[in-house]
């Protein structure tokens, strides 16, 4: 095969390009066109692009996507009904097929929201494919600001739901700024109906000010035929902290990128993730933490369960720049493989230029522990039930540091739902 022969676009690539061309969106069309040009010229990344080594986007992303029309408020409200909110007194901002819908929920004190698409994420090579796709298809967005020194007393929810009226390619873009000294909890949730092969693209750009603490929960519950390309980028100032909890419990193809930059001393990144990889699904979480300055810390834990023919991926990269002495970064990725036909790829990467740092990574892959199973069954708990208890215990441990018990229970209920249909 001649490497210079003209590429033939896949159905999904053509659909993405057309979806933009035919879109009625009236935003920054120049930036969109530039992103689309790169996709048209180079195609979506294959395994040859290292960042996508385990997720061949060109082969995996399928669909004859349509542009997403804005639905009426009634349809938008109905589309959210199958997914009752995780926290009863939260203020929720709603997104439907990429469009932002303001249902007039009262914001907590200290939080302001400006509707409108934030600037597109940077991207000019195939490594940036997730950002390029977002640039091409994102429709709605908000800029959310938390005032300095505010302790936000209610959870703010960001609820994405797909209406399923068409097989759409759409996306959202969120810019979140946590002011210095502020404390807040945000829950982002992406849901959609089963059996619809939509594409949801999500870009979240978070800036955490000096001494601020942001707890961010991302619950991915896309429909069983859906594709999702997501990216969260977090910039941390001096003494800033992010607690990121991520649950993957849906979607046929999920690529979720997490990018953290510790730019001020004393910054801390805490990540706890649960990836539930069901039959025929491909779930990829790729995280990059960069320590730019001295005295920053990170702790990352993923617990994964694979069943059926599911394929899971975790790429965890830690970069320590030359000035970043006394960095302490820990990373662990533990996986349960429950069938002979599933697989999980874990790739930890450390790139360290400073000489006085502590960095550790560990990855394990196991089946359920027989001695645990025997003990539970020896007390009369039937095998299927005992297995389920152990699987849940294995993953739920990752969310134990969550201080909100109600929220933890709500997420455990999502895990139960997944176990009901997959184990």
């Amino acid at each position: 095969m001649n490497a210079h022969s003209p590429r033939i676009l896949t159905e999904a690539e053509t659909a993405l390009i057309d979806a933009v061309a035919r879109s009625s969106f009236d935003g920054d069309t120049q930036v969109r066109k530039a992103a689309v040009d790169i996709i048209e010229k180079s195609g979506l990344p294959t395994r040859r692009v290292e960042y996508f080594h385990y997720t061949d986007l060109r082969a995996l992303l399928k669909g004859d996507f349509q542009p997403a029309e804005r639905v009426s408020e009634n349809v938008a409200r109905d589309a959210g009904k199958p997914y009752p909110r995780l926290v009863s007194d939260a203020c929720v901002l709603h997104f439907r097929d990429g469009h932002y819908h303001d249902f007039g929920e009262e914001l907590p004190d200290g939080v302001t929201v400006k509707a409108g698409l934030p600037d597109a994420p940077k991207g000019d090579t195939l490594e940036d494919a997730t950002s390029l796709v977002n640039t091409a298809v994102a429709i709605g967005g908000v800029s959310l600001t938390i005032a300095d020194n505010t302790e936000v007393d209610r959870v703010v929810g960001l609820a994405h739901a797909q209406t399923g009226v068409a097989t759409t390619a759409s996306g959202t873009r969120l810019a979140i700024e946590a002011g210095a000294g502020s404390t807040a909890t945000l829950i982002e949730r992406a849901c959609g109906p089963d059996g619809n092969g939509y594409l949801n693209s999500s870009d979240v750009d978070i800036t955490i000010g000096e001494g601020a603490v942001l707890t961010y929960v991302l619950s991915i519950e896309e429909g069983d035929a859906a594709s999702r390309l997501g990216r969260i980028s977090v910039d941390l100032a001096k003494d800033a902290r992010i607690n990121l909890f991520i649950l993957n419990a849906g979607g046929k193809l999920v690529r979720q990128e997490l990018v953290f930059d510790c730019r001020g001393e004393g910054g801390h990144v805490e990540i706890a993730g649960i990836n539930l990889v069901g039959d025929e699904s491909h779930i990829d979480v790729t995280s990059t933490i960069t320590h730019h300055v001295p005295n920053t810390t990170a702790n990352e834990l993923f617990r994964n369960v694979c069943t059926g023919r599911g394929r899971g991926v975790f790429q965890g990269r830690i970069n320590v720049a030359q000035p970043a002495q006394l960095t302490d970064a820990q990373m662990a990725c533990n996986t349960l493989l429950l069938s002979d036909n599933c697989d999980f790829s874990a790739k930890p990467e450390l790139e360290i230029f400073a000489d006085d740092v502590q960095c550790a990574h560990g990855a394990t892959v196991t089946d359920l522990e027989e001695s645990y199973l025997f003990y539970l069954m020896a007390r009369g708990i039937p095998e299927a039930r005992a297995r389920r208890l152990l699987i849940k215990a294995f993953v739920a441990e990752a969310f134990e540091p969550m201080e909100d018990e109600g929220l933890e229970q709500a997420l455990e209920a999502r895990i139960d739902d997944w176990l009901d249909s997959n184990v």
Binding site: Y372, A378, R379, G380, I381, L390, E397
Partner: protein
């Protein structure tokens, strides 16, 4: 209640024969002690009764209340009332003890066609049983056996036994790792469960436990079979003379 006939058992993995023609009958209401030196097959017997997969029965039968015990899986045996108090209780991270107890109690109730326990009723039962065994209720909020001391683990086993109300209790070296006070508490817990409808098999190295849990019968196990049976005085004789004489006499 339990009748073991000509039982032969080997380790499935390497086919080493451990039990070689064991015969044992235990009646309802009886407390039977099984004593024997290291490697005589005591723990293997307890695992075979509870149905652990690592062991393979090559010959013989185990009849429990008229049913073929060997045809039942681990959970079915437990639900039918066979309880093994583990020599080394397993630590299970992530599974809260209370969740585990409730699952176990309800699984067995379901098997018997009874309604599930309500949460208040369940907690009331656990509190009462924990108090009798001097178990701090807060300990039960922790994951199963995780961070428990040796004595706490053994007490937790007896707590489970009390809550599950089995018909046949098998205590596998429950005295190992216990100090004198804990031994007394655990023994009281077991004695409390003595009942005309319940049988108890006490597996132990030492006579000491049998001062507290006085057996009706004592059986000496050596090289995979019972070589001598008697009443509680046999245990005293063993304590005095050691195993060597009796085993030599039987050989």
């Amino acid at each position: 209640m339990l009748e073991i006939k000509n039982l032969h058992v080997r380790i499935a993995e390497d086919e080493t024969e451990i039990i070689r023609g064991l015969n044992l009958t235990v009646k309802a209401g009886e407390v039977a002690a099984i004593m024997g030196p290291n490697g005589s097959g005591k723990s293997t017997l307890s695992y075979v009764l509870s149905g652990k997969e690592d062991y393979e029965v090559t010959e013989g039968s185990i009849t429990y209340n008229g049913e073929n015990l060997l045809e039942m899986d681990v959970a079915e045996r437990a639900a039918a009332g066979v309880f093994l108090a583990f020599q080394y209780p397993v630590e299970i991270p992530g599974v809260p003890t209370m969740t585990f107890l409730k699952e176990a109690m309800n699984a067995q109730r379901k098997q018997r066609g009874e309604d599930e326990l309500t949460t208040p009723d369940f907690i009331k039962r656990v509190r009462a049983a924990a108090k009798d065994l001097h178990i701090d209720f807060d300990m039960l909020k922790r994951p199963v056996n995780v961070g428990f001391s040796g004595g706490e683990k053994k007490r937790a086993e007896i707590l489970q036994m009390g809550l599950l109300e089995p018909n046949l209790c098998v205590l596998d070296e429950t005295d190992s790792g216990l100090d004198i006070d804990a031994l007394k508490i655990v023994s009281d817990g077991v004695n409390h469960l003595r009942d005309p409808n319940r049988a108890v098999i006490v597996i132990t190295h030492y006579q000491r436990l049998l001062d507290h849990i006085v057996p009706d019968t004592v059986h000496v196990l050596s090289k995979g079979k019972i070589v001598k049976s008697g009443d509680k005085d046999l245990a005293l004789e063993l304590e005095e003379k050691g195993y060597a004489d009796i085993i030599a006499a039987a050989a």
